[in-house]
């Protein structure tokens, strides 16, 4: 693997990690903590939205995020031909 490829691979990994961590932060810290009062004026399935994000929604997003990351990373691994057999 050339050094250029190596750093391109690492950059796409960091971009993906950055995107995922942004979503991670928004669904828990922003929706569940910082903006909880504002979101609580809305409702989802009978529950105040901010409270729902803090006790349910953020956890669903976390699970989905890890599977999304694993799936995208497998594609990036293949693209740069560093995937495992």
């Amino acid at each position: 693997m050339t050094p250029e490829n190596r750093s391109a691979y690492w950059r796409s990994n960091l971009r993906l990690v950055g995107l995922c961590l942004l979503i991670w932060f928004i669904c828990s810290y922003v929706f569940g903590i910082l903006l909880v009062e504002q979101l609580n004026t809305m409702r989802i399935g009978g529950i105040k939205l901010g409270f729902w994000f803090a006790q349910q929604g953020s956890i669903y997003v976390f699970v989905a995020l890890i599977f999304f990351y694993a799936w995208r990373m497998n594609k990036i691994d293949k693209k740069y031909d560093v995937h495992e057999e």
């Binding site: 006790q55 956890i59 890890i66």
Partner: protein
């Protein structure tokens, strides 16, 4: 069948299963003992990680904690799940690529330093013993409540079972036992939750019942709960009393701490490939989420049920409060254990439950003729008494006992294994006797595991004060010491030995000192805690539970600045970092 014999039968059968699995999956070499020969499928590892992760506290205490904390309980829900995102994205795949046995081993090789390894071992041992003592206590408590034996007897039985499969089977043994334990504990947790959800709302899924209308009432569960708790002087269930910065910091400290816990990290050393490590973290969190999204529903439903039992009529009317003589059967059972306690302060023969610590509610309570809250509830009851409150058959109650024991044993075994690996692999092989044979190292690992079990049992039998500070101490230390050192080791090539050691020590000492100052850990004999543990005295209003975040930031800052002031790490280390960043 009578409840007690049924409980013996179900718990006994689960033990037989665990021991059978342990004998079938004995460890033959150190690779088996430390990392299960790196041959565990991602799905099985996900289940084992979930059982490893969900402790006696998750199973028994968490829903009850949320029931009484309401929104403030969210810190545990988000904090103990969100860490897996950090683990999957930032640590697990790279550590798997590194491909060795322990966390201190990574720190030692990445920072080309035995001193770094020793610092990491010290952190690991403090974190793991703090955590494991609570588990052993949990085993003892479950036994004593359900089998009516002394806590000590329960502890000894638990130690015996863990001894057999952790010492014999090592990581391989505990992995497959944990898969079985996960099945037992998740079944035991969800069955009562589903029945209570149906009884209360008609919706069988607790996650949906959480937002549903209470049957024949026209109002949703959480609205009714908000209503009734505020009319009893408590804070609204769906809003909290903690400050935003404190909620933010505790959640972050728990997340980062989770990602930095050695017994969780090593689970990802056991899968065959880097991509398995990523996927396995997803499975792990999925299995964890089943319990963690059920728990808040259980919390809300059981708080509602409790209040409905004690306050069957309108609040403030004489008939509104439950007459003591009319209390239900489960209430009497749990009174016998001392976990429910009634003190009829105004001698009216009825039970009044309200927030007597709220000065604004005082005049209202007095006008009702109430002279103080009369009901003391241990939060653990909320899960343990659930099956009885919902009139479920005895086998469900027995199952909850088996589930609680499974949760405690699986976590204890995982912790004991990382302690033994730190002793035999990091200290003995890594530092004192590098030429030790594989067979001798395996024996050393087994002896270390056995000794660790004895110490853990002793700590569970006679818990010193610091053991109770699991949330602050274990998670704070992991967040402030191990997590930054590993993260920097992967993502910042420039960080060197000097930086990493200085950073770890700064994070460790700062976090420890802050917790000691406000809560008292080891220096109680010298007068600790010295500080008044309340928001106006805390640094930036951050409680000891959340201070790991500041410790972590200090660690990052010190590690990076010291690294830039000293020589760059050697060429071979930079190559090693390049290498772990790429799966193949």
């Amino acid at each position: 069948m009578e409840l007690k014999s049924l409980t013996y039968l179900i718990v006994g059968a689960s033990f037989a299963l665990y021991i059978g699995i342990a004998i079938w999956s004995r460890a033959h070499n150190t690779g088996d003992f430390y990392v299960a020969g790196k041959g565990v499928s991602p799905l099985a590892n996900g289940m084992a990680t979930a059982a490893d992760w969900m402790s006696a506290a998750s199973f028994i205490s968490m829903a009850g904690l949320i029931a009484f904390l309401g929104y403030d309980g969210s810190v545990y829900l988000m904090g103990w799940t969100g860490g897996y995102v950090l683990l999957a994205l930032l640590l697990a795949p790279y550590l798997r690529k590194f491909g060795k046995f322990t966390v201190p081993e990574f720190i030692s090789e990445r920072y080309y330093s035995k001193a770094a390894r020793i610092v990491a071992v010290i952190c690991l041992i403090f974190i793991s013993f703090t955590y494991v003592a609570g588990q052993m206590r949990g085993v003892g408590i479950v036994f004593s409540r359900f089998l009516e034996v002394e806590i000590t007897t329960g502890l000894l039985i638990g130690m015996g079972v863990v001894f057999i499969y952790a010492v014999l089977g090592g990581m391989k043994g505990i992995t497959y036992t944990q898969v079985a334990q996960y099945c037992v504990l998740i079944f035991a947790y969800t069955v009562p939750a589903v029945f209570i959800a149906i009884q209360l709302t008609g919706n069988p899924l607790p996650q949906l019942a959480f937002g549903s209308e209470v049957a024949n009432s026209g109002a949703s569960l959480l609205d009714k709960l908000d209503n009734v708790v505020t009319s009893l002087g408590f804070t609204q269930y769906t809003s909290g009393t903690k400050s935003t910065i404190d909620v933010f910091c505790i959640t972050l400290a728990l997340m980062v701490g989770t990602a930095g816990l050695p017994h969780v990290i090593v689970r990802f050393f056991t899968v065959p490939k880097v991509r398995d490590a990523r996927l396995s973290a997803g499975y792990a969190l999925f299995f964890i989420a089943i319990l963690y999204t059920t728990a808040p529903a259980v919390g809300a439903m059981s708080r509602y049920n409790l209040i409905q039992t004690i306050q069957p009529g309108a609040i403030g009317t004489v008939d509104g409060s439950l007459e003591y003589e009319d209390r239900p059967g489960w209430f009497r059972t749990w009174e016998n254990t001392g976990l429910l306690h009634v003190d009829d302060k105004n001698h009216d023969g009825r039970i009044q439950y309200y927030n007597d610590a709220n000065p604004a509610f005082m005049p209202t309570a007095e006008s009702y003729g109430w002279q103080g809250n009369e009901l003391a509830v241990d939060r653990d009851i909320m899960v343990l008494a659930n099956p009885e409150i919902a009139h479920l058959p005895n086998w469900v109650i027995a199952l909850v006992a088996a589930g609680g024991v499974a949760a405690a044993l699986s976590t204890a075994a995982g912790l004991l294994l990382v302690i033994s690996a730190a002793i035999s692999h990091d200290l003995i092989k890594g530092i004192f006797a590098p030429n030790i044979s594989d067979k001798a190292e395996l024996l050393a690992g087994r002896i270390a595991a056995a000794v660790a079990i004895l110490i853990a049992g002793y700590l569970g039998f006679d818990p010193p004060g610091w053991v109770a500070q699991v949330v602050a101490f274990a998670f704070g230390l992991a967040a402030a010491s191990l997590f930054p050192a590993i993260l920097l080791g992967i993502f910042f090539k420039r960080v060197n030995k000097e930086g990493a050691i200085a950073g770890m020590l700064t994070g460790l000492i700062f976090t420890y000192a802050y917790i000691e100052f406000f809560k008292g850990l080891f220096l109680k004999w010298a007068g600790a805690p010295w500080g008044i543990n309340s928001a106006e005295h805390w640094l930036f209003g951050i409680s000891p539970e959340g201070i790991g975040v500041i410790g972590m930031l200090l660690n990052f800052a010190v590690a990076i600045s010291v690294s830039y002031l000293t020589a760059a790490p050697p060429e071979r280390i930079q190559h090693m970092v390049e290498n772990i960043r790429i799966p193949r």
